[in-house]
Amino acid sequence: MEVPPPPRWRLSTDPDTVERDLTRLVLTLVELVRQLVERQCVRRMEQGNLTDEQIEVLGVTLMRLEEAMGDLCDRFDLTPDQLNLDLGPLGTLLPTQ
């Protein structure tokens, strides 16, 4: 007898996909923190309480983090759009555009 496909909206805990999904979740959270730090840096830069040297160091660090995120996405075959969580009525975790 054929096994019917599981209803949609059910999680399938296939060992092949579970690793990728877990990676996706972790990367999403890392990306959230990265964007928060970036916004905080921009805010402090606007307030003028960072020295030029500090701005440069922070900027380079954030830029490298972004590159690292891009590389990780490539390695796990994910696109930036996939790094997000739908929180229902609250919208999405990360801005979509």
């Binding site: 209803p7 059910r10 900027g59 954030l62 891009g70 930036p80 759009d81 801005p95 555009q97």
Partner: protein
Amino acid sequence: MPDDLTCEPPAPGDPTWGPPVPDDHTWGPPVPGDLTYLYAVAREPLPCPAGVGDTPVRTVTRAGLVAYVSSVPACHFGEEPLRRSLEDLDWLAETARAHHRVVDAVARATTTAPVRLVTVYEDDAQVAELLERRATAFTDVLTQVTGRREWGVKAYTTPPEPSAATSPGTRDTRSTQACAGSGGGAGQGGRPGTAYLHRRRASLRGREQARKQAVQRADHIHRALSALAAAGRRHRAQDPRLSGRDDIMLLNGAYLVDETRTEEFTALAEKLGGDGVEIRVTGPWAPYSFTVMEPA
């Protein structure tokens, strides 16, 4: 809820609906163990198409109100199995189509208050009791929607160019664009980190501004349409993935419009579009957005 469920638990994706219902049972007392599915409340009994699971729809009359109901098997619609059934999108789609078919037919013929999808009672007596207990509320709702139809208005805007986005993995971060920031000033040559932060600032500001404009535009459209309609309601904007379009939905509105003002309403909706905003009008619908009551 009765414990003696006689049929098998729902097989996922199985289009059949338990044992066939004998013809003679539908207008008589329902089979024990069956539940009563409520579609809509109106003021008069009218013939209408088959309901959920292709079973005939009958009416329950009380307090000058008429409830449109049909029998559904407890093995799909009981409290516990229903939770499972609702996770099956194919089952849900089938049920929603049947629900809409009945509601739409009744709403075309008479003033109708549709009930939320999958509203199930233990038996017809419970529905009759509901009509009596909430008679005033139902009557108020029916009065409100008399001579009016619901129209849906959705407004879309095209997302900004991806170059303005700050999504992760934007690959051109290294290219030293000629300082996208406004107050960046000169002297950033050789300071890639500073240039990066300035670009980010400009992009965040641009996005914030675009968001504000979109919100204002949506508010404006909604206010204008609500002024012409008898009532207006905003639903949550749909995820672009549902419609398969890339456009961002600014407004997902529902409006209760006098039948005599239909043309005026659709003309106004068209006029509010343009300038980068696309308006889509759908309807007329049964007044789903203005009649759903909590079956307390």
